[in-house]
């Protein structure tokens, strides 16, 4: 047991650095994919066929590509076009691009839970598409969107570990460093698991809070 705690205390800085980058990657990609995913979701329910087609193509293309390939594309292929970006921003963009497709689908399915008559009545009052979406449809869709959205974000938190394969020092990169230092792998992996569990707790709490806040009166 002493040995188990020693693994953590002897390598504290590495754990702190790794998980700090994990949290940073997560937060940047969470905000990015919420914005991009909402825009894509709006496209998919818009009355303009070209926008709907664009949204559908994006989702089908990105959702069916392994995340590792999205990373590889951004980290290796894009710099070949003389665009110089660092590993960390590349990883953040890759996660954002990938997760947006899933956020888009959560938004679209949430919108579909709202009765068509709601949007129709709003249009009949003279509301624009943006007003119909933001004032009438999305507020009623939020409640249905919370659980699947949280699943998307928990999956994304775990997906940050793929960045380790692309030279980003995040939690997923810790085992390789620890192996070099000759630390026992089992203890290291257990600590990383505990780290992720701790990071997921606030997400679960947020889900509870939002579900309660947006409980619909029926």
């Amino acid at each position: 047991m002493g040995e188990f705690f020693r693994v953590l205390t002897d390598n504290g800085q590495l754990f702190v650095d790794g998980f700090t980058n994990t949290v940073k990657l997560f937060l940047i990609a969470a905000v990015g994919s919420l914005v991009l995913g909402t825009l894509l979701g709006a496209m998919r329910v818009s009355p303009v066929p070209a926008l709907r087609a664009f949204g559908a193509t994006y989702v089908n293309l990105v959702r069916n590509t392994p995340l590792t390939l999205v990373f590889a594309f951004l980290v290796f292929a894009v710099p070949k076009l003389d665009v110089n970006i660092d590993y960390f921003p590349s990883a953040a963009i890759a996660l954002t691009v990938y997760t947006s497709a899933f956020v888009c689908e959560v938004i679209r399915s949430g919108v579909n839970t709202v009765a068509a008559g709601q949007a129709e009545a709003a249009r009949a009052l003279g509301m624009t598409f943006g007003q119909v979406l933001t004032l009438i449809v999305l507020p009623q869709a939020l409640r249905a969107m919370v659980p699947p959205m949280m699943s998307v974000y928990i999956a994304m938190l775990k997906n940050t570990t793929i960045a380790a394969g692309f030279s980003v020092l995040e939690a997923g990169a810790i085992p390789a460093y620890m192996a070099e230092r000759g630390e026992p792998q089992f203890a290291v992996l257990l600590w990383i698991t505990i780290g992720f569990l701790i990071l997921i707790l606030p997400l679960v709490a947020l889900q509870r809070f939002l579900e309660r806040k947006w409980r619909v009166a029926r």
Binding site: A121, G126, L135
Partner: protein, 248 residues
């Protein structure tokens, strides 16, 4: 009753849903202050006609003019037109996440950019007019069907529309609540509102309408005063239809 140029004019309007010809060369004009009741068998195109007037349903050919202007195809101009035409649906469609008063003030504040205080004052007056002022702070699901439909009428009136469209406003109501909604509509008609009303309430058609339109298979088959239509329907379709609904 009717003064000056008509408010709503449909000229040779055609509409298809795939192979189905739902509006077949429909021409109709509705004068200012006129109340037109639309009747006809199920699937004859009554709802589609009603929804074409504020372009919730686009048409394939012909023209529709509202207040002297052809209906705009899209964008801000279409939104403005819709704000001038009130619409009441069979299933009420009150905004489920807003209180009754918010339902009534949302359009004026967000679409017309009115001051919230002014919109609130007029909203409360309208709720009072339709007899549900005491329900202002409740959510739609807490009201009876009749109260919800009266709230929906108040919501449409809050935009100070030039015309009101009703698509079977009492069909989803329990029988004991039909009267309270028809009373509100009758008083609107008496106050000179231009109305197009799809309904099976023959009492309302007889007493409040200036004209009755009978539709069948997407065609406008008859267009007559209520007295004339009910006493002497000219077409077989109308005679057949009336015999079915008037016997019970």
């Amino acid at each position: 009753m009717t003064t000056g140029e008509p408010l709503i004019v449909l000229d040779a309007v055609n509409k298809w849903f795939g192979p189905l010809h739902v509006l077949d060369d429909v021409s109709l004009s509705v004068g200012r202050g006129e109340v037109v009741v639309v009747i006809g068998p199920s699937g004859s195109g009554k709802s589609t006609l009603c929804r074409a007037i504020n372009r919730l349903e686009p048409i394939n050919s012909g023209t529709i003019t509202f207040d002297g202007q052809p209906l705009p195809a899209e964008g801000k101009a279409l939104a403005r037109l819709r704000s001038e035409v009130g619409m009441v649906f069979q299933s009420f469609n009150l905004f489920a996440h807003k209180t009754i008063l918010e339902n009534v003030t949302l359009g004026p504040v967000k679409v017309r950019r009115e001051k919230p205080a002014a919109a609130r004052e007029r909203g409360l007056a309208l709720l009072d007019r339709v007899g549900i002022a005491n329900q202002a702070d409740k959510f739609p699901a807490q009201l009876s069907g009749g109260q919800q439909q009266r709230a929906a009428i108040a919501r449409a009136l809050a935009m100070q529309p030039k015309a009101m469209l009703f698509d079977e406003p009492t069909s989803a109501l329990d029988p004991e609540m039909v009267g309270e909604v028809l009373d509100v509509m009758t008083s609107l008609a008496r106050d000179g509102m231009t109305m197009v009303v799809v309904t099976h309430e023959m009492g309302f058609a007889r007493h409040a309408a200036n004209r009755v339109i009978f539709m069948a298979d997407g065609k406008l088959v008859e267009d007559a005063s209520p007295a004339e239509f009910f006493a002497n329907p000219r077409s077989e379709r109308a005679k057949d239809f009336l015999s079915k609904i008037l016997t019970h």
